[in-house]
C-alpha cells in the first residue's frame, strides 16, 4: 500500500471508549464485544466506502460490510500482527467483495481475460484535450462518484482498488488473479473512460472522435 493511505502502526489515539486500537485488537481476540465495537467504529467508513464503490449499491454494500466485519470477528484470533491491522482488515474486505462479485457471475471481475470488458474499445483511441475542457479543478466528489458508479464492474473494480484504495498493481494482480500488465492496462482504460464520462457531464458533449 502506498504510505499515505495506510498507517503502519495501530492508531495510538484513544477512541471514545478510551481503548486504543492495539488494546481493542487484543480485546477482540479474546471475544470482547466492546473491543470489537471499537474496531468497527475505527474502520467502518473505510470498509463501507470500498464496498459501496465496488458494488455501486447501498444495500449490497451494507451486506458486504456486515460480512466483512463478521469475518473479522471470526478471524481476529488469527491476526498475528505481521501486517498493519488496517491492511489486514482491508484485504479481508476486498476478498469479501471480490467473492461476492464472482458469485454474481460477473465475468469482468476476473481481469485475466483476453477479451476487453468494453468490446467497443478496440485499442487506444486518439484522445483530445482542449484548454476550456480541462478537468483540472472541475471534478467534485459527487460527479466523480457518479462517474465511478457508471463504469462497468471490471473497470470500476480496478479503479477503486488502485486509485481510490491505493493498492499497488502487484497486489491487485495477486488478488484478482491476473497479470500486472493486465492490471495496468485495465486501470488506464478505466481512467480514460472516466475522463470521457466526466467531460460528458461537464459539457453535455462527448469528446471529439
Amino acid at each position: 500500500m502506498r504510505p499515505e493511505k495506510g498507517h503502519l502502526t495501530p492508531s495510538k489515539k484513544t477512541t471514545v471508549s478510551g481503548l486504543s486500537e492495539a488494546e481493542a485488537i487484543d480485546g477482540a481476540k479474546k471475544g470482547d464485544a466492546r473491543s470489537f465495537e471499537v474496531l468497527y467504529d475505527l474502520h467502518k467508513r473505510r470498509v463501507y466506502s470500498l464496498c459501496l464503490r465496488m458494488t455501486g449499491n447501498v444495500a449490497e454494500a451494507e451486506d458486504l460490510t456486515q460480512e466483512a466485519f463478521l469475518q473479522l470477528y471470526r478471524k481476529v484470533a488469527t491476526f498475528r500482527g505481521e501486517s498493519a491491522f488496517s491492511t489486514w482488515l482491508h484485504r479481508l474486505s476486498v476478498n469479501v467483495v471480490l467473492m461476492h462479485l464472482r458469485k454474481k457471475g460477473l465475468p469482468e471481475v476476473s481481469l485475466e481475460q483476453t477479451l476487453d470488458p468494453e468490446p467497443d474499445e478496440g485499442g487506444p483511441k486518439r484522445e483530445f484535450g482542449t484548454a476550456d475542457l480541462s478537468l483540472k479543478g472541475a471534478i467534485d466528489r459527487v460527479n466523480l462518484e457518479r462517474a465511478i458508479a457508471s463504469l462497468s464492474p471490471g473497470y470500476r473494480t480496478i479503479f477503486v482498488l488502485h486509485d481510490v484504495e491505493g493498492y499497488e498493481h502487484n497486489e491487485i494482480a495477486e488478488m484478482m488473479g491476473c497479470s500486472i500488465g493486465n492490471s495496468k492496462s485495465q486501470l488506464h482504460k478505466a481512467r480514460l473512460k472516466l475522463r470521457e464520462i466526466l467531460r460528458l457531464q461537464k459539457t453535455g458533449k462527448p469528446p471529439q472522435p
Partner: protein
C-alpha cells in the same frame, strides 16, 4: 514521437516509469498535455474518496445479530455433510486398527466421559449479553469440566474451541460454495476431527 505512440506509453508515464522522450511530447502538444493533466486530476481526486462514506446505524445492529446467532448451535453437522464425514472417515482408516487404538486407550484408562452432567446451559438470551463468544452449549459444558481441574486452563481451551469452531465454519462455507472441491471436503472432515480430538484431550485429563 506522435500522439498515438505517446498515448501507448502513457500508462508508464503516469506510473512514473517512462523514457525521457515520452515526457517531452506533451511539452509541444496541448492535446496530449491536456489528457495527462486530466488523468492526473482524476487520480488525485479519487484518492480523496477513500473512507468517505458512512454506513447506516442499523449495519452494526445486524453485525451483532449475526455474531450472536453464530454463537448458538453452529457446530451441528447437517445431515448430508454428516454422511460425507462418516463415510469418508471410514474409508480412510482401516476400521479395526483405529478401533483397536481406541479400545487400547479405553483399557488404559483414557475414559471418554460423557457430558451428561447437570448442564451449565446459560439461560435463554444470556448469550446476547456476554462478551460475544463463539462456543455452543456443549462447549460450555466442556469448559466447566476443564475449569474444575484447572481454572487457568479454561481460558486457553476456550480460545482453542473458538478457533476450531471458526475452522469448522470456514470449512463448511468452502464446501457449500464448491461442493466438488476435494480439498474443501478434507478441511471440513479434519476440522470436525480436530474438535473431537480437543474434546478427548480436555476430558481425559480431567480424571487425573
Amino acid at each position: 514521437m506522435n500522439c498515438m505512440e505517446f498515448q501507448n506509453a502513457l500508462p508508464d508515464l503516469l506510473d512514473g516509469g517512462a523514457a525521457p522522450e515520452v515526457e517531452e511530447h506533451p511539452k509541444s502538444c496541448t492535446a496530449c498535455a491536456g489528457l495527462v493533466a486530466d488523468l492526473k486530476e482524476i487520480s488525485a481526486q479519487a484518492r480523496l474518496l477513500a473512507a468517505s462514506e458512512e454506513p447506516g446505524e442499523h449495519v452494526w445492529a445486524r453485525i451483532m445479530e449475526s455474531v450472536e446467532s453464530d454463537a448458538l448451535g453452529h457446530t451441528e453437522v447437517p445431515a448430508p455433510l454428516r454422511a460425507l464425514w462418516w463415510g469418508a472417515g471410514q474409508s480412510r482408516w482401516a476400521i479395526p486398527v483405529w478401533a483397536a487404538s481406541v479400545a487400547a486407550l479405553l483399557l488404559l484408562g483414557f475414559e471418554f466421559n460423557t457430558l451428561r452432567q447437570a448442564p451449565a446451559t446459560p439461560p435463554e438470551g444470556v448469550a446476547v449479553v456476554q462478551p460475544a463468544a463463539l462456543v455452543d452449549n456443549d462447549d460450555l459444558q466442556l469448559l466447566s469440566v476443564v475449569e474444575k481441574r484447572s481454572p487457568a486452563k479454561r481460558a486457553r481451551y476456550k480460545a482453542h474451541l473458538e478457533a476450531v469452531n471458526a475452522s469448522i465454519r470456514d470449512a463448511k462455507r468452502s464446501v457449500e460454495e464448491d461442493p466438488a472441491n476435494e480439498l474443501a471436503q478434507e478441511r471440513l472432515i479434519q476440522a470436525y476431527d480436530q474438535k473431537s480430538a480437543l474434546y478427548e484431550m480436555a476430558m481425559t485429563r480431567s480424571m487425573q
